[in-house]
């Protein structure tokens, strides 16, 4: 039995401790917004937050994150009103959208660490892959979200 705290909710799950968090989220808890892309921490489609840290959920086990605060795309904001999500809508970032949960979680974390990131910092902080090629819009949306978050604070 493993107890996970996901999006503020406790789940007691009958899983072996070495189960990757990704599959626990997708197949057991049924939070399918977190996506499988590579399984080797290369693409970032499965990015979630552990505390405020972006983590590739395919590469971390439920045993390692038991009891920690896990945030998935579904838990980012109740009505998709997080500034990063609003910026994503304003810039119409997604094409197919498959990688965007991971992109958004990575961007949220980047903005926590760098509230006003430069292009270089975005290059370094955003390693998620997007085959549709939405990178130019991801970059613009991060800058826009940074502006929006400044106005709020």
């Amino acid at each position: 039995m493993t107890t996970l705290k996901i999006n503020g909710k406790q789940y007691t799950l009958n899983l072996e401790p070495d189960t990757p968090l990704l599959w626990a989220l997708r197949d057991t808890v049924n939070l399918t917004g977190t996506k499988y892309g590579c399984g080797i921490q290369q693409c970032g489609a499965c990015t979630v937050l552990i505390g405020k840290r972006p983590v590739r959920s395919c590469g971390i086990t439920v045993g390692e994150v038991a009891g920690k605060d896990i945030t998935t795309i579904e838990g980012l904001s109740p009505e998709s009103r997080h500034p990063v999500q609003k910026a994503w809508i304003a810039e119409q970032v997604p094409q197919c959208g498959y990688c965007q949960s991971g992109q958004i979680m990575a961007a949220v974390s980047l903005l926590e660490r760098k509230p006003n990131p430069t292009d270089k910092e975005i290059d370094r902080g955003m390693l998620n892959l997007c085959r549709c090629g939405t990178y130019t819009r991801v970059r613009k949306a991060i800058h826009r979200a940074a502006e929006m978050m400044k106005e709020v604070s």
Partner: protein, 719 residues
């Protein structure tokens, strides 16, 4: 391959929904090309549902994979319908002849999405359906009020009577409208009356794509559903030799081991357990069509084919004699191949991200032996495809497994399985021998190309007779096909299909994805040989192609072509059209200028790309812009990094660590302009992918004098 002749008329069919509301479907008449033996089926061919609550559901005929076909198609229909955009929801259509794209002519007449014709192909039909429905709603209101229909106007989901100011919503009118006879020849709006078309309306699916609720194939969950993952022979066409079923079944959660064509599947209560089961299963394989093949042999086979065609005698003052080479490419869509199926004793349901609904239906019929009435295909949102999700094998696997275990099952390929079992963009090698006359223009243009037959994958007959028509479009050629936009004299092109036993398929913008690199590189080489400026040189061939000339010149102007650049920087240009064999007005024309920097140590960066696209009327300009941006990045990624290589008959690459694609840090500044046009819309999903390739390599030449003739650029020395 496409039919742009849209003389067929549409007639509408209407029925009421239980409890009121309106269903609108339509069929083609005169000639009735799409009739079915079972006429009742046509009633299922519905496009619009209007509920009493004013909610409007549009049933859209194509798969949504990020190209925003859904948004564009909904805009076209809603425009003519005069619907309130905020009341629109959309679903993807089931399998029915009603949803065949009018541009898909034999032998490609199968319900599918591809070829960048979701908007262009359905432009007329969706307008007619929308306009006809609007007229019926208007007539219903006129009848209700006892006034002439000419005094009533439909607007934003309501019909208003000008004299009295009365109004009724579409939901209130739906039942009455459904009892009227539909118009034979709906009156379309004039472009000046468009409220939606031509505007960058936010995409319908964006909200679901930023909060995790969008339902891709991989997200399907059914009661009692199990998860499966597969191992297929790494040597193409090989067979399973052995596996350890006992070990696999000893893994917690594993429920079954199921043989599939060319491989084996492990079924479990979660994807993770299925993966662990597969690891324990340790399947071994033997045989196959690509046994012993490696990349060196592939190159040798292509060269041998070129040699067999033989070099031509070229006698001219100046002669270009060069060879070019391109690698196998993988689609590498972020969502790996997956399919969910549930086969019972008398019914079958399939949930799948797929471009070709017709193939899914075929697969279901073949595996189950059921009739179409017993089968339902649900097209899920696709997490990227680019031409990959068009094959039957992953659908068959889910069907076979579900039939075996008699439960719903979701098959997911691992990334490794996805990378090593692609339908790759063909490898290709081509020789050009071009003789120039005194004016620097070609007097003789000899070209041979050797590559696996793309067309034979779809039409085996073409493989048997050794003819691959897909080597021709987007190249300067002398076959009985429409000409290239560059008018060249003295052309002699020959091709040789080379069968290598490696699956090949459509990779975004086939055949441009190969031929545009060749054509535009050679043009650049010829300009250099002739001692002429590359843009000016190209314009000399475009006397009969005014749209191409205009687009090329606009892209050059936008990029500041000719303005001085610092040392180590250069600009290159490329142009193509889509689909190259269409009549001119049905084509999209795209030109791109790349500006690159090459450092003293040889480090390459694409700094800026300027793109001009003429796609007729841009239904949603922001969608067009996004397609150009994404295409440029995908084309750039292929140019710089991507290749699939072979060793021991199998693909070497297995995941994103060794199949490198572009990342944020690689991305240039991109500026896209759309030519203003009132012509009917043409496609934009593919034509932005190809010109960027030679634009980059031509820019490298301008910056360094180094000519890239083999892709990817990879670690080739640039200085």
């Amino acid at each position: 391959m496409k039919n742009t002749n849209m003389n067929r008329r549409t007639f509408l069919k209407v029925t009421t929904v239980a409890g009121g509301g309106l269903l609108v479907g339509c069929s083609f008449s005169s000639p009735k090309l799409l009739s079915t033996p079972n006429d009742v089926k046509e009633d299922l061919g519905m496009w619009v549902r209007i509920g009493k609550d004013d909610k409007i559901t549009l049933i859209l005929p194509t798969s949504e994979m990020g190209q925003q076909a859904h948004t564009g198609q909904a805009m076209i229909l809603a425009e003519e319908l005069e619907a309130d955009w905020n009341s629109i929801r959309v679903v993807t259509a089931p399998v029915n002849p009603e949803y065949l794209n009018p541009m898909k002519v034999p032998p490609f007449d199968i319900q599918s999405t591809g070829g960048s014709d979701s908007i262009s192909g359905f432009w007329d039909k969706l307008r007619q359906v929308g306009a006809g429905t609007r007229q019926m709603l208007t007539a219903a209101a006129a009848q209700e009020w006892g006034v002439p229909a000419s005094e009533c106007k439909a607007e934003s989901g309501r019909v208003r009577h000008s004299g009295s100011g009365r109004s009724l919503s579409y939901g209130q009118l739906a039942s009455a409208a459904a009892r009227l006879s539909p118009p034979d020849d709906p009156v379309l709006k004039s472009p000046q009356q468009f409220r939606l078309i031509g505007k960058s309306i936010p995409k319908l699916h964006t909200p679901a794509r930023i909060n995790g609720t969008a339902q891709y194939g991989i997200d399907v969950r059914r009661p009692g559903m199990l998860f499966a993952t597969v191992s297929q022979s790494p040597v193409f066409g090989g067979k399973v030799k052995s596996y350890d079923e006992t070990a696999a079944k000893a893994v917690r959660g594993v429920e079954a081991v199921v043989p599939i064509p060319n491989g084996v599947a492990v079924v479990a209560d979660s994807t993770w357990h299925a993966k662990q089961g597969l690891e324990a299963l340790k399947p071994q394989f033997e045989g196959g069509e690509s046994v012993g093949l490696d990349s060196t042999k592939v190159t040798a086979r292509l060269r041998a084919a070129l040699d067999e065609m033989g070099k031509a005698e070229v006698t001219a003052e100046k002669v270009l004699d060069v060879e070019y080479e391109m690698p196998y490419l993988h689609h590498a869509a972020m969502e790996p191949m997956n399919c969910t199926a549930y086969v019972t004793t008398d019914s079958c349901e399939v949930w799948v991200p797929h471009q070709v609904q017709g193939f899914c239906m075929d697969a279901a019929k073949e595996v189950t032996g059921f009739s179409e009435e017993q089968i339902r295909i649900h097209t899920m949102m696709i997490g990227g495809s680019f031409g990959r999700k068009q094959t039957k094998e992953y659908v068959e696997q889910a069907l076979i497994i579900s039939k075996f275990i008699q439960k719903p099952v979701q098959v997911i390929w691992s990334r490794e399985e996805d990378t090593q079992h692609g339908t790759y963009r063909p490898v290709s090698m081509s020789r050009f021998q071009v003789g120039l006359g005194g004016d620097g223009l070609p007097v003789q243009w000899e070209r041979q190309v050797a590559q696996p037959s793309f067309a034979a994958e779809f039409i085996p007959l073409l493989g048997w007779i050794g003819f691959d028509p897909m080597t021709i479009p987007a190249s300067v050629h002398d076959y009985v096909f429409p000409d290239h936009f560059y008018k060249v004299e003295g052309v002699n092109m020959t091709h040789s299909p080379v069968e290598l036993g490696v699956p090949v398929g459509a990779w975004r913008a086939p055949p441009n994805s190969i031929n545009v690199f060749y054509t535009e590189s050679v043009m650049d080489e010829l300009a250099k040989l002739a001692g002429q400026e590359p843009l000016e040189y190209r314009l000399k061939f475009l006397g009969e192609s005014p749209r191409h000339k205009a687009v090329l010149e606009q892209a050059a102007r936008q990029a500041g072509w000719g303005n001085p650049l610092p040392e180590g920087r250069g600009r290159g240009i490329g142009i193509n059209d889509w689909f190259p064999l269409d009549v001119d007005e049905a084509k999209t024309v795209v030109a791109q200028v790349a500006e690159v920097s090459v450092s003293k140590r040889g480090k390459l960066k694409v700094e800026r790309v300027d793109c001009v696209v003429d796609c007729g009327l841009a239904v949603n300009p922001d969608s067009v812009r996004a397609q150009m941006e994404g295409s440029i990045i995908m084309g750039m990624s292929a140019t710089m990094f991507e290749q699939v290589t072979l060793e021991d008959g199998r693909v070497v690459q297995s995941n994103f660590d060794d199949y490198r694609i572009a990342r944020m840090r690689d991305i240039p500044e991109i500026n896209v302009s759309i030519v203003k046009s009132d012509s009917a819309p043409t496609g934009t999903g593919e034509p932005g992918t190809s010109p960027i390739v030679p634009a980059i390599t031509n820019a490298i030449f301008a910056a360094t004098g180094k000519r890239i003739r083999r892709l990817p650029i990879g670690r080739q020395k640039l200085v």
